[in-house]
């Protein structure tokens, strides 16, 4: 972000300022196009109230971002901190397993809660989704445990198992 303006972090300044954005032609051209599209969207929502229900739309539109920023992200960050404190060896495998299984669980959550589907349509969600999810999680965590065991064995030989290898 525009660190051309006063960025006070003197100690980190050299690193921080490298990634600043330049307000060149692309910034203004894409900015104008982008704001035009945003304006079109606002116009569309406001002028089609019968379908868009602007107030309800606004709640869901802003609500999603707020729920992410103020609930989901902090929870994820806290889980990360807890992991760092509690798991001192083979953490990478657990992190991967958590990322993958959290994704699968998040996607399956509405199905597991039984909120979707139509009672009279047997072709929607026709299988045992709970069993399917459990099977997928078993595969993911099985792989994670195997990886962790392998890493812990190698740690003795001081091999950086999950670290960056040179390009």
């Amino acid at each position: 972000m525009n660190s051309g303006a006063a960025v006070p972090e003197a100690g980190a300044r050299s690193k921080a300022s490298v990634g600043s954005s330049h307000h060149g032609v692309a910034f203004w051209v894409l900015g104008a196009l982008g704001w035009a599209a945003i304006g079109f969207a606002v116009w569309g929502v406001v002028t089609h109230p019968g379908g868009t229900h602007p107030a309800n739309f606004g709640v869901w539109f802003l609500g999603g971002a707020l729920v992410h920023d103020l609930v989901v992200a902090p929870v994820v960050l806290l889980v990360g901190v807890a992991l760092r404190r509690k798991v001192t060896r083979g953490r990478a495998a657990i992190q991967v397993a958590i990322v993958v299984s959290a994704t699968l669980c998040l996607y399956s959550l509405p199905v597991l809660l039984g909120v979707g589907g139509l009672r009279d349509n047997q072709t929607l969600l026709p299988r045992n989704e709970t069993a399917g999810l459990l099977a997928a999680l078993a595969v993911v965590w099985g792989a994670a445990i195997v990886a962790m065991v392998l890493v812990r064995r190698r740690v003795g030989r001081r091999v950086d198992a999950a670290g960056e290898s040179p390009p």
């Binding site: 972000m1 525009n2 660190s3 303006a5 972090e9 100690g11 980190a12 690193k15 921080a16 490298v18 990634g19 954005s21 330049h22 060149g24 692309a26 910034f27 203004w28 894409l30 900015g31 982008g34 704001w35 035009a36 945003i38 304006g39 079109f40 969207a41 569309g44 089609h48 379908g51 868009t52 309800n56 739309f57 869901w60 971002a65 992410h68 920023d69 960050l77 760092r84 953490r91 990478a92 992190q95 991967v96 990322v99 993958v100 994704t103 996607y107 979707g116 139509l118 349509n121 047997q122 072709t123 929607l124 026709p126 399917g132 999810l133 997928a136 950086d160 999950a162 670290g163 960056e164």
Partner: protein, 404 residues
């Protein structure tokens, strides 16, 4: 997307009144992971730019096909294009879920940057994150909810999804304009984090590296894709248990979107007095009974039903070619044909056949599928089958053709 300094702050911190407000997540060093770096944000941003671009274009196409403005004509050939574009729309949308969450996690410290606003341009740039992030979360959530028929809101899903897409793509354009230069730089530069006592776990890394982080995100994308894409890609359907549909499960061996019960056509469709009417701009208005339709020359075509929800099935249909029916009525096809269902109401009770679709010899009023009369839920007595059109436009329980 300024990288968070990885090395702990040791230099003098700015003094002054404004800094007293710098508390909680705003304070220096509040986020300690060394994965909140620009390079990861840039890589995930580029991938998301591609997936969102694909979603936007395929979604816009689907919108144009279903609500064609005067200048837009969607051809009936090749027959399987919509199946691919809509399958991609849903699959890339689902794949974007872990990508978006990972991206937002990487850049999360910027939400709490200090000072919050540095200039007018910066304020506009940050403001554009509202439609970008709000729109992205909205689109992915509403899309996934709608394919399992979960509507926890009051607005119309297709309309809200459509307008939210414009907001998100607008926010994306502003964001790309603001970040293109720094993204390019961060990809060229191979920034190395110096090892040192200030970086926890760096000397003997036990947690994910940057590369490992990207690998975890890729694994999540892969797992979620395998879990869902089977609804469109048949060989994977056995693995895709959480997918909303199995292309082999349903009456006569394939799924249904809207049941006869839901459409309230059970009595109307089973009525022995059923007549198919061909009316409006015709030389001879037709009214054909089911027997009359069966007596006409029939044609067979193997065509897909690609649902807007992302699943599709290809079946062999047999029925009366619409073009032949219209020729018998002496209709002029140039204005298109409105195909109306027996359904008393609903947004999908009728569909407009573009002239290219009306003239296509494989556009049928199907009486049979795979050699057997259509099941009630698949559109008995007749349903429209036309190449390269969304399932919702392949109207079931057809009662009337109105030549425009």
């Amino acid at each position: 997307m300024r990288p968070r300094p990885v090395v702990r702050q040791t230099g003098p911190v700015v003094t002054g009144r404004s800094n007293r407000l710098r508390r909680g997540p705003f304070r220096e060093g509040a986020f300690t992971s060394d994965l909140h770096v620009e390079r990861l944000g840039a890589i995930l941003g580029i991938v998301l730019g591609v997936t969102f671009g694909v979603c936007f274009l395929t979604g816009l196409l689907s919108h144009l096909i279903q609500h064609p403005p005067g200048w837009f004509h969607w051809p009936s050939r090749p027959a399987g294009v919509y199946r691919v574009t809509q399958g991609l729309h849903v699959a890339t949308g689902i794949a974007s879920i872990p990508l978006l969450l990972a991206k937002l996690w990487v850049v999360y410290p910027h939400l709490w940057r200090w000072p919050p606003i540095a200039s007018v341009a910066h304020a506009l740039e940050r403001l554009s994150l509202v439609p970008l992030v709000g729109g992205s979360v909205f689109l992915l959530f509403s899309g996934v909810a709608s394919i399992i028929r979960w509507y926890p809101w009051s607005f119309s899903f297709p309309q809200a999804h459509y307008w939210a897409a414009w907001a998100a793509i607008g926010g994306l354009l502003v964001h790309v304009g603001a970040k293109a230069a720094s993204t390019g730089q961060s990809l060229v530069r191979r920034e190395r984090v110096p090892p040192g006592p200030g970086v926890p776990g760096r000397e003997e890394r036990v947690g994910l590296s940057r590369r490992g982080f990207l690998g975890a995100v890729a694994a999540a994308v892969g797992a979620l894709t395998v879990a869902t894409v089977g609804q469109a890609v048949r060989p994977l359907s056995g693995l895709s248990v959480p997918a909303p549909r199995d292309p082999d499960i349903g009456p006569q061996g394939f799924p249904i979107n809207r049941t006869a019960h839901e459409a309230k056509v059970e009595l109307l469709a089973a009525d022995p007095e059923y007549l198919l009417r061909v009316e409006a701009r015709v030389a001879i208005a037709l009214a054909l009974s089911l027997e009359g339709l069966r007596a006409m020359s029939r044609r067979e075509a193997t065509l897909p039903i690609p649902c807007v929800d992302g699943w599709n099935v290809s079946k062999t249909w047999r029925g009366v070619p619409v073009a032949e029916l219209l020729a018998r009525a002496g209709a002029d096809l140039r204005g298109g044909v409105l195909v109306q269902s027996l359904e008393p109401k609903g947004a999908f009770r009728e569909s407009m056949l573009d002239p290219s679709h009306a003239e296509d010899p494989d556009t049928l009023l199907a009486l049979e599928v795979e050699g057997r009369p259509l099941a009630l839920d698949h559109g008995f007595p007749v349903r429209l089958i036309t190449p390269n059109a969304p399932g919702v436009m392949q109207t079931k329980w057809v009662g009337r053709l109105e030549v425009m």
